[in-house]
Homo-oligomer: 321 residues x 2
């Protein structure tokens, strides 16, 4: 087979970094690593970086940049059922003396530290060139062996998700001026969902002992469900009519049905996607989660419309078979 | 007191980040954080970032960029007496498809993983704009309560360091073409010391139970000893005639005495600076370390010349009182 000219992110990780991975790295396939903790616990480690001009803009409120950086990592901890412990922070700013930015940035961290019960453990501040790069590594704790992994879904499991789908991707469209005719309150809601994800920490901890597999939705439902299925060696069927949508997303979809592709494929929701055996349905009824499909033997992710017919996502839209 | 217009790195950390620091963060004053580990151990966490055009250049060999990034963190673990466990890596490259760089970069990591007994645990790869930013968080392990800290030096302790001083700063001068008349072998040696620090992991672990305080020399002897003294509430006297110098550094100094300022003030040596009570002198005689001075009550760092007279470092040189 001819060597491809350019590898995508997953291929580059597989080729260059997986050979370096040690015990606890979960083959770099699970967003997190696990290391032994004290007294029958494990630490869950997550790290994510954001870049100015790529993941955030210099005009974004610094408080929210800080909160998003922390929360995307907390979302990884949440999806593993872990309780936050602490974090390391690397701040590479282009203007070394940008005290106004740092004042607001640290205020955002202070707010979320209190809200989510996590503290700063250490870090590094350096001067960048070109664009600011912010990197955060979060540590959470879980009972040893209890972390929810993505490679453990089984055929016959039911598929669930928390919250609502697609709001963040629609919020990004609002910011780009692509949804100008929506109600102001809907636009504000969608933008807030894009800017400030809600890590589902409480839910994640309740899912320990219930869920068979879990991960957070950061790259979009279709992509992330694909990752979960690939890691578990299974397929999945999603009933799109059951997908939990916010009022704002419903309003957007009512105006323009092609936005379903954005909702199914867009990222940044940071909700928990998880599977559970049917025997857990009663316990799950008490939690605020939505059943959206099931795990199947076929290796693919199949999306069904309201009539049970398969639909396929195409670039920039969707089409029926 | 009037508010200064721009805060330096330490002031910015003190103002914006120390208020966020939790238990184990050591008030962000010790290069590392400590968290509980399994079975009577503690994890030592260190994080450092390097930026293209600031800490390395795009023309540097990628293997050595990787090794330096890993080793500066390993040096922090070494100075705390910790044994390496694993690391998280964030790679923000400007060219997403730069496979040649990644191939060599990961080969450098593979070499040093084997050499120093550490494995990759996880990470994130993102696209940067402007300059590449590489960030690494290393975890080491030490017996609970045994980590060597920088705030625990006592008056009367003897001051020691490992290896030789100033080679890396002189190596940087060689790379800048500022030492053209030195022998090729000396220049090559100094450059190798700049490019590839040697984390003193074995020595660090032997110092547990012997040293009263320790840190690595990354910002230069004078600055780092100042940090150690400030954290410990003590002063120090350094006998510059006893400083361990390599053959190459001696050769450079023989040509140009003003290079003493580079040797005393230059960074990137990554040797261990530590203190120990006089009662430990016999045990230390078996280790490859050099006694360079002592801890005193006066709050300052005093440098003595060969005649016991104080000398002072000025910007770009040094002068006698």
């Amino acid at each position: 087979m001819a060597k491809p000219r350019h590898l995508d992110e997953f291929e580059r990780i597989a080729r260059f970094f997986v050979p370096l991975a040690g015990r606890g790295a979960l083959d770099l396939k699970d967003d997190v690593a696990l290391i032994d903790g004290p007294g029958g616990t494990e630490y869950v480690l997550s790290t994510d970086a954001i870049v100015e001009g790529v993941h955030f803009f210099s005009t974004d409120p610094p408080e929210q940049i800080a909160q998003k950086l922390l929360r995307v990592n907390l979302s990884d901890l949440a999806a593993k059922g872990a309780k936050p412990v602490g974090y390391l922070l690397t701040v590479a700013l282009t203007k070394a003396g940008d005290e106004t930015f740092l004042k607001k940035f640290s205020a955002g961290l202070a707010l979320d530290q209190k809200r989510f019960g996590i503290v700063l453990l250490g870090g590094d501040t350096v001067r960048s060139k070109g664009a600011a790069v912010l990197s955060l590594a979060a540590l959470g704790k879980v009972a040893a062996g209890a972390a929810l992994l993505r490679g453990t879904a089984r055929v016959g499991d039911t598929l669930f998700m928390s919250g609502t789908l697609g709001d963040a991707a629609l919020g990004l469209k609002v910011l780009k001026g692509e949804l100008p005719r929506m109600a102001v309150r809907h636009r504000a809601y969608l933008v807030s969902r894009y800017r400030l994800p809600q890590p589902r920490l409480e839910l994640g901890r309740k899912l320990v002992g219930i869920a068979s597999a879990a991960m957070d939705i950061s790259d979009g439902l279709v992509a992330d469900l694909g990752h979960l299925c690939a890691a578990s060696g299974v397929g999945a069927i999603v009933e799109t009519a059951r997908l939990p949508l916010s009022l704002a997303a419903r309003a957007a979809l009512a105006r323009d049905r092609t936005l379903l592709a954005t909702i199914l494929g867009g990222g940044d929701d940071y909700e928990i996607l998880f599977t559970a055996p049917p025997s857990q349905r009663r316990r799950l009824a008490r939690l605020r989660v939505t059943e959206i499909g099931r795990i199947a033997a076929a290796p693919d992710v199949t999306l069904l419309d309201g009539d049970g017919k398969p639909i396929a996502l195409a670039r920039g839209g969707y089409r029926h078979f």
